[in-house]
Amino acid sequence: MTSLPTPTANAKKLGLVIDLDLCVGCHACAVACKEWNSGGHMAPLTDLEPYGRDPDGVWFNRIHTFEAGADDQHLGCGTSRTTHFPKSCLHCETPECVTVCPTGASYKRAEDGIVLVNEDLCIGCKLCSWACPYGAREFDSDVGVMKKCTLCIDRIYNKNLEEVDRVPACVMVCPVSARHFGDLGDPNSNVSTLVRERDGYDLMPEMGYKPVNKYLPPRPKKVMPVAIEGGRRELEVSNDNALLNWVDRLLSR
């Protein structure tokens, strides 16, 4: 019988912290994930007719894009922004995908909290992909088993790699360093500090699955002056600094 590991105070919780302020939605993480896991032996991501008319295949990393703030009439259109939201398995602390798996093929490792699939036990019933509220599971229709992000377990513990390279492929490749990898169970780790300082949050915390991966929200956008209805408008700039106010008045003449 498979059950979730008993939560302990100092348990290691490996995961990702993704900075939504920096992510530019370039898909490099998705491509690097695909590249590494297609070449690796732990979780090969199948490609079906990759050069055909209707290519298909398995991807662990997805980037969602949405607009936020565009409807705020008070702040004006200058406040809207496009948010790119990369999403892979969030390695939940109480993952439903593990609970529903009839054979125990889906499991959560006690030693580092990574959620994995034992492909030798998976019967391909796909119930885990129904149960995951984040849509993070991918059925490999060629092999007939369910697959998912492994946090590049074959990289992070790979002693043949330089220590600096022992991070997931998506973290390695991110051109703007929006992705961070570390132990979220350690309050002093770099990722925990980032989450604490930047008010990192969970995706859909109301579901109660306690995702380990965290997201750093976009920083508040500076309000830009807005030209309204063609007329010249006196800009309201509040500044408590007397010197700057004087410079401002001087330059505004």
Partner: protein
């Protein structure tokens, strides 16, 4: 009531060969389809990473649900003491295990790895509702086979009632388990509802009885055995009650969904702008599958017309398949709300209504589940004495028997 005599179906006749040949052909087509899907992988089907359960699951769930309901007649006879149903109790139990076998065959062959049946049977995660269902299905086979034994072996007759009680309780738990697979799906807005379990029980009563009525009609017609009006009247009235029960639970399910803010959009999608799912819901599930059968069963011109009752049973089955299709496929087609309130785009179809076009092999595999079930019924009825020689009123109807005695 007279002592009911049972007799095997005569084998090797032209009709028998034709029936067995047709059923074997459909079964073979299903096996070929399963081999094709297994050999090439599920990407040759209409299933995707968004719609992970397709048409075979629709048929499999329908058959499993109907299996539980097919035991109605035996339960009414053993548990509730209605003697009129007693002659049909063995057939009822046989149909129940056969439908379950058909459903599980489809379910197994539609797995990503059907070759790992032994893994499914030997490795259990007891927190999984799916694993519980594996146990419930296996248990159902065991209990109903014992129940059949107690009904058909004179030495075991005294155990018939407790076995009937056990089978009755087990089937209720089994259908609760099947409904709960969907009821426990918290991640998907259209599911996650406690009403799923009782609704599936009502569905099982209706679908199972509809299949049973057709089997009784067909077997009495094909083997030239009398079938009295009294029994037909009881069966069709019972079917009407069960159709109404399903309608009640569907109404409760949809109204509850409209009341819960989180689910409202999903219900509105299904009821008004869900495309094929809206059409299937209103036209096939409600119109053809419930209202028209009710009219056929109770309107005076057709109420005791056997072709009309048979048609009503066929329509209930069609409506039932549509209902399971809407539940399984429609629920997956509705997008998962990852970012409520935002219009989300992505290269992976997230945030949009998912499409599903069933492939030919999926349809063949699904339909073959019925063929497997009927093949088992026909074969078992040929080898064992499941079918009564006569279901005439004077044999089965207690009122008719009492009147004759006076």
């Amino acid at each position: 009531m007279k002592t009911v005599a049972y007799r095997e179906v005569e084998a090797m006749t032209t009709g028998w060969w034709m029936l067995m040949g047709a059923l074997a052909a459909f079964t073979s087509l299903g096996l070929l389809a399963a081999f094709y899907m297994e050999h090439n992988g599920h990407w040759v089907t209409g299933m995707t990473n968004q719609i992970v359960w397709g048409l075979p699951h629709v048929f499999a769930v329908f058959l499993i649900v109907a299996a539980s309901g097919a035991l109605n007649v035996a339960s009414i006879s053993s548990v509730f003491g209605r003697t009129a149903y007693k002659p049909l109790a063995p057939l009822s139990a046989l149909l129940a295990v056969s439908l379950l076998a058909g459903g599980l065959t489809v379910l197994l062959l539609d797995l990503g790895r059907p070759d790992r049946l032994m893994v499914a049977m030997t490795k259990y995660n007891f927190r999984s509702i799916f694993a519980w269902n594996v146990i419930l299905y296996s248990g159902f086979f065991g209990i109903v086979v014992v129940y059949m034994w107690t009904m058909m072996d004179r030495r075991m007759k005294s155990f018939s009632k407790p076995a009937g009680f056990a089978a009755f309780a087990w089937r209720l738990i089994l259908t609760t388990g099947t409904g709960s697979i969907f009821g426990f799906l918290v991640a998907r807005t259209p599911y996650d509802s406690a009403v799923m379990a009782p609704m599936f029980i009502a569905m099982s009563f209706s679908f199972g009885l509809a299949v049973f009525i057709l089997v009784v009609f067909a077997s009495s017609e094909m083997t030239n055995r009398p079938l009295g009006d009294a029994l037909v009247r009881r069966l069709k009235n019972l079917l009407g009650v069960f159709i109404a029960a399903v309608l009640y639970f569907v109404t409760v399910q949809q109204l509850t969904g409209l009341y819960v803010a989180e689910k409202r959009d999903a219900v509105v999608f299904l009821l008004t702008n869900g495309g094929i799912f809206t059409v299937l819901f209103w036209m096939v599930q409600i119109g053809l599958g419930a209202l028209l059968p009710l009219a056929l069963l109770f309107a005076p011109p057709t109420a005791m017309n056997r072709p009309a009752i048979g048609l009503a049973a066929i329509l209930v089955i069609l409506g039932g398949i549509a209902q399971v299709y809407v539940i399984i496929i429609g629920g997956q087609a509705y997008p998962m709300p990852l970012f409520p309130g935002f219009e989300v785009t992505s290269s992976f179809f997230d945030g949009q209504v998912n499409t599903y076009v069933p492939s030919g092999p999926e349809a063949f595999l699904g339909v073959s589940g019925f063929a497997v079930a009927m093949l088992l019924v026909a074969f078992a009825s040929t080898v064992f004495r499941f079918l009564p020689e006569s279901l005439a009123d004077e044999v089965v109807d207690p009122h008719c028997v009492a009147k004759a005695r006076k």
